[in-house]
Symmetry: C2
Subunit: 242 residues, 2 copies
DNA sequence: ACCTGAACACCGTTCAAGT
DNA sequence: ACCTGAACACCGTTCAAGT
């Protein structure tokens, strides 16, 4: 159940690229610590994976590590820092895909790879909402997107903006899907869009009342690849008419 | 300071369209309630406006209303329901803008109106992340977007998908801006992207290392209107090649 | 240097009792 | 019908003390 966490954990702990670690190299002086950052972060990551951010508390992590809550604060400044640390290394656990050579296809492929990867790690999306990207291993995707955009004729500034727009589409879709999944779990029928329309609204909102019956179907049919394709076309279109 | 809340509050409480209220019409039998839903929701809205979702607790609302926390549960099922209720009526507090006739311009104008409105109500964005749209007064924008898309030749299904993509761009940008604003407040220098790159990364990430120095500037220059324009071009482009 | 215990100032929500 | 009080099972974090 927790072998995915264990894997990325060992990736973190692997000594070769130790210079990359943000924590300063500690000489082993004084009392040797009985718990180390890597196990703390690993356990936190497992909790996030299995139960999401809402389930992660310092007290819970401490219990699973086998210490007091306060022992954690000796290794980590606060809960936020712990959350950020769970992110680093996760990108490296996903194999880098073959990418097409055509820059437009490449752009779409990388964007979809981002989307697909994160769709399988919903907790990462949740944590990303709270802070920014701290996982260096994910930057190759940004680089690829910017590079492809520039190959298609965008200026560096336009390429960076295009990256951000693509990211908004990817992130927005993931958040939307998660909200839907959460709502599906609750048997609780809070009324959302289609339910709150009556025939009386047909005049003001003709399309929406007409589509209300098909809304669930239409929502389910949303095709990220197709939409991202269209967005990319639009973004690259900037190059042709300056 | 709280007059915006007060306004939408009175909008809520206005009797004419009472049939719209989700709560069932209560006959005034039994002990008359000393606190009513509208004041609870109004106070919650003010707290959200002034201090954000993190500051909103049932206990806090109770204190400001002048009751015990548990009295609230007689008017509201749980905190989540209270949050959803704060949303309803907010859209009506914003005047509806004049819109251009050309459907493409109209599409962009409505999208920017959504963005601009929500940019001024950050708490709404925060609450929206937790649930779905419950404010009927906001649906005219969705209707306009779908209508314009269809006028441009999209099928209803494509129009709904296009709406969602536009929403992702709007929402994604707002979330991004809020995260940036929050980060700017903390003097705390957690290292985010540009700081974590060294010269050693120039080989793997040439564009990003080259742009690292300009990153803040480039981020600040992000032009939502321009990007949404490009996205809309791409989405409408679907119509021409079926 | 590393860990512990007790404490502070909070949470959302349930439940039994009051008027 | 509406409200209260006490209680349950939690939070993140500080602080003084232990080894």
């Amino acid at each position: 159940m927790s072998h995915v966490a264990a894997e990325s954990e060992s990736t973190d702990a692997a000594p070769p690229a130790a210079a990359e670690k943000p924590v300063e190299q500690k000489k082993k002086r004084g009392r040797p610590s009985r718990i180390d950052l890597d196990t703390i972060v690993g356990i936190a990551r497992r909790i996030l994976q299995e139960e999401g951010v809402a389930a992660l508390s310092m007290r819970r992590v401490a219990k699973e590590v086998g210490t007091t809550p306060m022992a954690l604060y000796h290794h980590v400044r606060d809960k936020d820092e712990l959350l950020m640390l769970t992110l680093s290394g996760t990108a490296d656990s996903v194999p880098r895909p073959e990418l097409p050579d055509d820059p437009r296809d490449r752009l779409l492929a990388v964007s979809l790879h981002m989307h697909g990867t994160l769709a399988r790690m919903p907790w990462v999306v949740e944590v990303l909402s709270l802070g920014d990207l701290t996982d260096k291993g994910a930057l190759w995707m940004v680089e690829e997107i910017i590079d492809s955009c520039m190959t298609c004729g965008l200026t560096p500034a336009e390429a960076v903006a295009a990256y951000r727009t693509i990211w908004h589409c990817v992130y927005g879709d993931l958040v939307f899907r998660q909200a839907m999944a959460r709502r599906a779990e609750e048997p609780d029928r809070r009324r959302h869009f289609p339910g709150m329309l009556t025939d009386a609204d047909a005049e003001e909102l003709p399309h929406m009342t007409a589509l209300a019956g098909r809304w669930l179907e239409l929502t389910a049919d949303y095709d990220v690849a197709k939409q991202l394709g269209a967005v990319i076309d639009g973004l690259l279109g900037q190059a042709r008419r300056p």
